[in-house]
Amino acid sequence: MGANSILEVIDLHVGYRIYKGFLKVINGACITVEKGRKIGLVGEAGCGKTTTVKTVMRVLPIPPGRVSKGEIVFKGEDLLSVNLDKVKGVRGKGLSMIFQDPMAALNPTFTIGTQLIDVIKCSKRKGYATRNASSVRDRAIQILEKVAMPDPERIMKNYPLQLSGGMQQRVCIGIALVNARHLLIADEPGTALDVTIQDQILRLLQELVEEKDMAIILITHSLGVVREMTDRVYVMYAGDIVETAKTKDLFANPAHPYAQGLLASIPKLTGGGVPMGVEGRIPDYLNPPIGCRFYPRCKEAMSICAESKPPFCDIGDGHQVACYLFGREKK
């Protein structure tokens, strides 16, 4: 474990038990987050991005979810071995998450003020949680100001339904910021919003993260967002991390056939028509392919791909790719 890393996900296997059997979703994911780094996690819908971070936050419902193998180390502590009653304390030490749909993340029956104050009261941050009602309230208002909410006094009394999607997401960011000091996980924070609002939310997140020197894991399926926001990208396909690189390297020189296909399927602002997407679908998690999970859709599939899972292969400057195309070149 590097001295600088604050979160390490090591060989994580997560699945869901359903009536038909066991869905093997996350299949040995490894992610390292260093202090103050901005990490992007991209992939198609249903490829396990959210499952991964929910496991990290320990909010994955168990059952049906089950972590069959792996370790999640946050600041030297294995999160998976922490008792569920104590996990709140660990989260309070500086780990927070923003969910995709702000409407579903906020409780519609309580005012914004109540929900914000509850989080502040529960905070494990030293000297932050007080019993003094007025100072807690002041803190809540400060937080709303921090996330650029107009008229925080009034917003405190509003219910989530009275706010627009962008404002709700600002509240969620505010709630996440109460505890986040080391790592913030943002699960598609702008996807449910319009482009101009998404732009505002992402800019706000970037400012706050840089100001506090926090690390962030940004989950998204928009490659444009990743390019503009992050330093390092992990490309996920069907529960596997297939490629990781510095953001610039990945966009300049994607190595894995899936990453290439994904990059090629974005329509360009400069025109030039709509490219063909990657053929086929995400595999059935009940009986996933034994070898590389991408090989049924891969144009460059070889016989070895069907047999065993390709190991990570470094192709220079921390650019790692899990594909037999590259292991062979080295030999």
Binding site: V195, L262, I266, P267, G277
Partner: protein, 324 residues
Amino acid sequence: MEKDINTLLSVKGLRKYFKTPQGTVRAVDGIDFSIARGETLGLVGESGSGKSTVAYVLVGIYAATGGEVIFNNGQNLGRDFRKRPMNLKKDIQIVFQDPGSSLNPRRSIKQIIEVMLKTHRVVPKEDRMSKVAELLKRVGLPVEYMYKYPRSIGGGEQQIVAIARALATDPSFVLLDEPTSALDVSMQAKVINLLIDLQKEFSLTYLFITHDLSLMRNVANRIAIMYLGKTEEVACAADFFQKPLHPYTQMLISSIPVATEEEAAIKPKKIIARGEIPSPVNLPTGCGFHPRCPERMDICSEVDPEMVATGEAHFVRCHLYLHR
């Protein structure tokens, strides 16, 4: 927008208001546009700008409050949507945003497509089955999918079924209401390519509604930007991205997250997006965009600007270009 044989649809001063306890919502507040045969017009705007309402009025789900919709140089379709003749209903079809909720989960795909064939008497009863098979084949789905239910196929395939259903009546005009916003990029590429192929094959005319401008760049011939129930700028797709005129268009284009350097280069100098779309119940006075506009002048809060032509087929509704 005079009558000519090339124009398939022309919309003039279309308005649609909704009465609610909070006041009248002006969802669509006087828009004009026309679509030529075989063209794809892109309609872009934030949520709440009235894009979908326009589509619903055109397809006949709502009756218009005012203005006219002329289809094929015929009668006004805006009002009396219940009296709209069957052959016109057959000619204008729609594909909705979320295929999960626009396909009946309790009907098989065969039944879903057959309803259209029955209602519009497209083919005789005994040929229905083969027509469904033919449609599925055309959109690239296996014929066995006929017996499947919407839930058991993927989101992209559901949307393809919805497209097959829209094509079942052999329409000339198809409204696409954010057909790919619920899909992944790679599935989106597949659906869009299918739509482009079908357009060529059946000489269809599309009104393509989306909020994804980079997609629009590659699909539409012309683009209209909507804001608060009004069109702000109409231009050819290439023009639109090379020299966006309206401050709102510039804000939109500069907000798009892009994946390559060349794209970043064509974005206008960063106009910082701020503010949110106001409620259509309490519209701002004057130009609807003035509270968010970086270049607002005194006149903007008082007078609503008129649409002016600034070049060939490039129209903009902004005071900046009005007094030149």
